[in-house]
């Protein structure tokens, strides 16, 4: 790392301020404008689409590269259990355990 401590602190605070602005914008602007039920519905769908895209990309990829087999396999087991309406705790633990066990036996 070649960056000075001052530059690093400044960078952290700029990233923090920008991130906070993104987070604060919605709750603040919602107060000033009245959203129609239709817009509310579309916002709800948008948030779910964003989360679904995060699930897919983080399950299959590591940055821009394919993440290997263990992680997607773990998430797939979790997905199957969630689809069968298994309890949340079971879904999460089964996903993690599957990935961990596959790695233990040498699957990347």
């Amino acid at each position: 790392m070649t960056m000075s401590a001052t530059a690093l602190v400044a960078a952290v605070f700029v990233l923090g301020a920008g991130t906070f602005a993104f987070r604060y914008a919605g709750p603040m602007l919602r107060d000033r404008v009245t959203l129609s039920p239709r817009v509310e519905q579309l916002l709800g769908v948008s948030a779910i689409v964003l989360l679904a895209a995060l699930v897919a990309t983080s399950a299959v990829l590591d940055g821009r590269e394919f993440a290997g087999v263990a992680k997607p396999a773990g998430v797939a087991v979790g997905a199957l259990l969630a689809w069968r309406r298994a309890p949340f705790v079971l879904v999460v633990l089964a996903a993690a355990a599957t990935a961990a066990l596959l790695r233990l036996v040498g699957v990347p």
Binding site: M3, V12, A47, L50, V60, G78
Partner: protein, 233 residues
Amino acid sequence: MRSIYRTLRADRALTRDIALVCVADAVVGLSFGAIAVSEGLPVWAPMLLSVVVFAGAAQFMFVGLVASGGNPVAAVLAGLLVNVRHVVFGFTVGDVVGRGWRRVVGSHVMVDETVAFALAQPDATRRRAAYWACGVALFTCWNIGVVVGASAGSAVSDPAALGLDAAFPAVLLALVLPALRDRTTALACVVGVAIALATAPFLQAGLPVLLALAGVVVALARPAHPSSEEVAA
């Protein structure tokens, strides 16, 4: 705030689910602290990032770029791009965040997990309780994890060995799945996920997820309410 406590006492399952996510995220925080220090950052850097930014993916991205000698401006921009999605989240869960100082605190603890937990609740009271409980607990656990990880350094084991990298998508998936019973939402998600996966190998992190929003066009093209199916039936 009192009603949040009451709701959580009544809904043991919700409290347990949030606790599980907190434990998992604390371990990821542990490794974040350890990785940041092992890559040459000062011990305070991951701790400061976790308090000031509090966004896992952006923090990992920032540390990776800074540690490899990257330009600080590029590292900040890359982190911001990963976090743009919070604008949409804010509009969606803005009603549970509150006003005044609560809005400041509530906005700061807005992360994927808190939003997903809130959206998975059936009514407004539980939405608010889930959002705040998850937000405050995650902020606490994540930061404790990072402090311990940064102090202990490389002694911390790899979270991938515990399968925790698979736990994050599984958490969000389990929370999002009930919403997919609505056909319009499901269709929008299928299109969005396809776009995100197809573009992810070529684009800067953060962009593919934003492009997935094009899937919402599907929802726009369909009638205003999910009741359209009931009308058809």
